[in-house]
Amino acid sequence: MRKAFILVLVLLSSACGRQETKLHDTQLLVMGTLVNVSIWDGDDDVAAVATAGVEQRLREMHRDLHAWQPGPLTRVNEALAAGKSAPVSEEAAMLIRRGSELSRQSGGLFNPAIGDLIALWGFHNDDGPHGPPPDAASVRALLAKAPAMSDLHIEDGSLRSENPAVQLDFGGFAKGYAVDEAVRILREHHLNNAIVNAGGDLRAVGRHGDRPWRIGIRDPRGPGVIASVEVEGDESVFTSGDYERYFEYEGKRYHHIIDPRSGFPAVGSSSVTTISKEAIVADASATALFVAGPDAWVRTAKAMGIDQAMLIDDKGKVYMTPAMAKRIHFEVDPPPPIEVVAP
């Protein structure tokens, strides 16, 4: 009897002595969104200092790259609209070059030069637009001016445009750049096992202890998770969805991913998830593939060097590249209809 009691006590003590968590999880409200910094196995003080550094850096970027709150980028846009050249910081120049390259690879489906069009739809607003949608004639008038990143030229820190209709809006890849910067700062502090998730888009480095990081991908037509993927080493997982920002007017939904060809919200996709090393590339390619839609996404992925992509169309059918199909796990039962398409 006494031995049995000792056995119970030993079992209880081993159950209670579970390992304490080694996860430093911090939520930041920056860049108009929720940014989650998760650090595994770092020193408490180092993690706190690094996370504060990330917060400060993201606040600077929010100020410098905002498309409608008055600041450096709105001043550049004012100058371009007036047909003048504008001084740009090294960082802005780098982003313009990267944005131009990504836009060229995407065949113009990713186009950070259509700030006027985004504004016309009312998405230059913290609370999103309230409708009604713009009239077709206004949209056509902006499209006719054909603003493109290839209109821009940078010489000696000065930006000029051949086309006064170019208005820069970094919304399609600024978040990716911000996540890349956050990860760079964590690594400077030798924090090599971490996830930075900015408003649902993330870059994960290292591992969660003895296992990879587990990422859930949201179901575009429900509140839960449709699929999951394990990530380790250094990868970014970005999703563009029609549920992120939208307004409804007279029973019709208008989302924020504007097709630069039509000037209207892109049709055919409900979400696109891409995986690549750099977050800036994952971000821009998710937008471009969403715009490309179910018929052309594979071609666009190939042109942008993306081999891991998943598109869920507006009827719930899932299309994936073989490399994505190999690693993704569906969390819904029954799984959705799936088609694997080789690039």
């Binding site: 159950a15 939520q27 998730n197 587990r214 859930g216 998830t273």
Partner: protein, 136 residues
């Protein structure tokens, strides 16, 4: 009865479990199953909590086994969050799209809803988080 048989019978008697031993063994099994469910499996709904992050109120962790309604202030006004029967949801929010309300009830670990315009988010925490991060 031989002299040598007495100790043998005594040992056999000592090894035979008493009702007390059986009770303790059963208690052990019940405790182990309970501890497993409580700490590892994440199915113990009562053990679940949610993390609410808001710009004005900071971070708070709330248990999901206590029914209540919370009102949180954000840049646009008040958002109301309901906790009932191990679940949590937005029931009122001053935002335009009402995506946070459309998200409905959240109960499984890792599920979340956010009212980005009003800068408030809810994430359900499990004892064993199924996902480290959610992509959306």
């Amino acid at each position: 009865m031989t002299a040598s048989a007495i100790p043998y019978r005594s040992i056999a008697g000592a090894l035979r479990p008493t009702p007390g031993d059986i009770a303790v063994a059963l208690l052990t099994v019940v405790l182990l199953v309970g501890l497993y469910l409580h700490f590892w499996s994440g199915v113990g709904g009562e053990g679940e909590r949610a993390r609410i992050v808001s710009a004005d109120n900071g971070v708070q962790i709330v248990p999901l086994n206590e029914d209540r309604t919370l009102t949180l202030h954000g840049p646009l006004g008040d958002s109301v969050i309901e906790i009932h029967d191990g679940r949590i949801r937005f029931i009122e929010s001053p935002c335009q799209g009402k995506q946070c309300i459309h998200a409905g009830w959240l109960h499984s670990a890792g599920s979340f809803a956010a009212c980005l315009p009003n800068r408030i988010s809810i994430t359900v925490l499990g004892r064993n988080r199924h996902f480290d991060s959610i992509n959306y």
